[in-house]
């Protein structure tokens, strides 16, 4: 194992972290800031990916597809908010769980109804194809660098939106007391529809961007959902900074675990055994990390000043 490889893996870990953040960004907004448990977040992610793949296939342009993913996910989000979510804000979390669980079923099956059962094709745009040489000599895929950039922009934009704008304040105010913010003259209903649509659009964007690197298929949102929740909770709910750092931590832990655990174990047992046990341990690793963090800091790494 060379230093260059270790560094590359570290970069991979950071990159995975940013990707996780991109996937979690919409959820941070909806869950962390609006206080709504939205299990259907993964479905919106899927909607974005499918919209992008379909439109990219029609038009031949990934970029138009990307815009379509934003539009489709935002529209889906707005409809969902208007029809379902709106009635759930002042219910307890359990009703939100059930309703959005129901939405997952409907979205998954609905998507299959529309698009069929086979994975769709979605490729990286020519502009971002291939790899570039990094200082140190290793090659690194351009597209992954683009994801890092996109993640950083989203993180920064969200941070500004939530903590620096009046819109952000109103959203947070609405989370703690919807009635009161309304009584002060803020149209919180419309505001929440907009925010939900925005969160959905972010999910859709992530679905499209990550979908081009992974696979666009029904059910693609579910693993994302769990990971995104893990990320947000580790970071501390409601904190954009926490979500970003949580994502990086998960990304690095996961990558380094996958990379190093088998190697370490190989010092003690046969390589095949080490591979299996190490692989098993690596898949549990982020959950172990999460449990440890929550056991020590019960409100995440960066407990936002929230009730």
């Amino acid at each position: 194992m060379t230093l260059a490889l270790a560094l590359e893996q570290l970069l991979n870990g950071l990159q995975l972290g940013v990707m996780l953040f991109l996937m979690a960004a919409g959820l941070t907004l909806i869950f962390g800031v609006m206080g709504l448990i939205n299990l259907a977040h993964g479905s919106l992610y899927m909607v974005g990916a499918f919209a992008c793949a379909t439109v990219a296939a029609w038009t031949g342009s990934f970029w138009i597809g990307l815009i379509a993913s934003l539009a489709a996910a935002a529209a889906a989000g707005a409809v969902v908010e208007l029809v379902v979510i709106r009635r759930l804000y002042d219910r307890d979390h359990l009703d939100q769980v059930l309703a959005t669980f129901a939405l997952i079923l409907m979205f998954s099956e609905g998507t299959r109804w529309l698009f069929g059962s086979f994975p769709l094709y979605l490729d990286i745009p020519p502009l971002l194809q291939g790899a570039v040489a990094l200082p140190g000599g290793t090659e690194y895929p351009v597209y992954r660098l683009a994801i890092i950039l996109a993640g950083a922009i989203v993180a920064f934009g969200l941070y500004l939106l939530i903590s620096r704008t009046r819109l952000g304040m109103r959203i947070r105010a609405g989370e703690s007391d919807r009635e009161m913010i309304g009584a002060l003259g803020v149209d919180i209903r419309t505001l929440y529809t907009v925010v939900f649509a925005l969160g959905a659009a972010l999910a859709g964007l992530a679905g499209a961007m990550v979908g081009a690197l992974q696979s666009v298929q029904v059910g693609m949102g579910e693993p994302v959902l769990i990971l995104a929740f893990v990320v947000i909770v580790i970071g501390g709910i409601g904190s954009i900074k926490g979500a970003l750092l949580g994502a990086l931590l998960v990304g690095v832990t996961d990558t380094m675990g996958r990379f190093l655990l088998p190697k370490i174990l190989a010092l003690f047992v046969a390589p095949a055994q080490a591979g299996m046990i190490g692989g098993a341990a690596a898949s549990m690793l982020i959950y172990i990390v999460m449990a440890v963090i929550l056991a020590v800091k019960p409100r995440g790494l960066f407990p936002a000043a929230h009730a």
Binding site: G116, Y121, P141, Q217, R258, F259, A282
Partner: protein, 356 residues
């Protein structure tokens, strides 16, 4: 004499593509047979073992089916098949073929019309002996993944650069690809079914790493190829069938399937098609109520398989030829082209333990 078949397969959720090909291939053969006595009930297992068991119970207890078939996944098969045969029903597998049912725990009522799980991996191990000195092998960390690498190693004689097990359902392979680059391997064998394979191939193509990739046939089957796109071109795989097979049965199957469903069939469709052909053939000779006679007829495997030669081993798993295929782009369609035969009349390593 009436014969009732219960098909349990995955028709909803992420893995539905495979189940739909299975069902369609199967029903094509049933339709072609035109035997009014044969009825098929189909239900969706949603890829959940518990649901599969519930459906199996219903089919056995209420629908009173004689034969069960259709399950795609090993873990669902393990939930259904052992208890179905324990209740005296036939099970004819259209895909899943765990080692656990091929050796000492084989059963007279259990047939596998597809392969034994290890077969395609063994073939790639054999193929890799020609020209690859140092292989990097990778599979998900679950029984089928372990069987896969075990099968590969059973035939591969060269050196292993690394043997890596990834998380089931993993979608990002940057860390593994970096290791591949650094490992000095001259060939890569991956077993990553479904979405995992799509993600891996796309990311591998982006990485700039230029090591030949190979895998078992279903990693590059028609259900995933369109989604991988050009990134798959050039990959080598092993398979018992490819769309370009030059025999009458294959051509007829291909034409019929495309006419009926307006798409290219995958290997799952072929396997299910053959399973249905096997049942139809046996039903014309014996009554399913007479298990011994029906089983004997099934075992004769008197069918024209698109795969060409096909017969059953002592453990009622196939003996068949296995080919090397390559992913190519022909007229804008990405598909598999047959390159050469790797194994002729290949059985499996477990048959010797089976005492039927």
């Amino acid at each position: 004499e009436p014969l009732k078949i219960g098909m349990i397969t995955t028709l909803s959720g992420g893995g539905a593509g495979l189940g739909i090909d299975t069902r369609d291939g199967f029903m094509l053969a049933i339709k072609n047979a035109g035997n009014k006595d044969i009825t098929v009930v189909t239900e969706d297992d949603a890829q959940k073992p518990e649901l599969a068991v519930q459906i199996a119970d219903k089919m056995i207890q209420s629908d009173k089916v004689d034969i069960l078939t259709g399950i795609v996944w090993s873990n669902l098969l393990m939930a259904v098949a052992p208890s179905a045969v324990a209740q005296g029903k036939f099970y004819v597998s259209t895909n899943a073929a765990p080692a656990a049912l091929a050796g000492a725990n084989c059963n007279k009522l259990y047939f596998n019309a597809a392969y034994q799980n290890d077969n395609l991996h063994e073939a790639m191990g054999e193929y890799a002996n020609k020209g690859y000195k140092k292989m990097f092998i990778l599979a998900p960390n679950y029984p089928a993944g372990k069987d896969s690498l075990t099968g590969f190693k059973r035939y591969y004689k060269g050196q292993l650069a690394a043997e890596v097990y990834t998380q089931v359902g993993q979608t990002d392979y940057a860390a593994e690809i970096a290791q591949m680059r650094a490992s000095g391997a001259d060939g890569i064998f991956v077993f990553l079914p479904g979405g995992m394979g799509i993600a891996f191939m796309k990311q591998f193509a982006q990485s700039g790493v230029k090591i030949p990739v190979m895998g078992p046939g279903f990693s590059f089957s028609q259900d995933v190829l369109p989604a991988i796109g050009d990134a798959a071109v050039g990959a080598k795989a092993s398979g018992q069938w490819a769309p370009d097979f030059d025999n009458a049965a294959s051509k007829k199957f291909l034409a019929d399937f495309q006419k009926e469903y307006n798409r290219l069939p995958s290997i799952y469709a072929v396997q299910a098609y053959d399973a249905a052909q096997l049942i139809v053939a046996a039903a014309s000779k014996a009554s399913v109520k007479n298990a011994d006679a029906f089983g004997a007829e099934l075992k004769k495997a008197d069918i024209q398989s698109p795969r060409g030669k096909f017969k059953f081993n002592t453990n009622q798993h196939p003996i068949q030829d296995i080919y090397l295929t390559e992913v190519v782009k022909q007229n804008g369609v990405i598909t598999n082209k047959t390159v050469e035969k790797i194994f002729a009349d290949h059985g499996d390593a477990y048959a010797k333990d089976c005492k039927i």
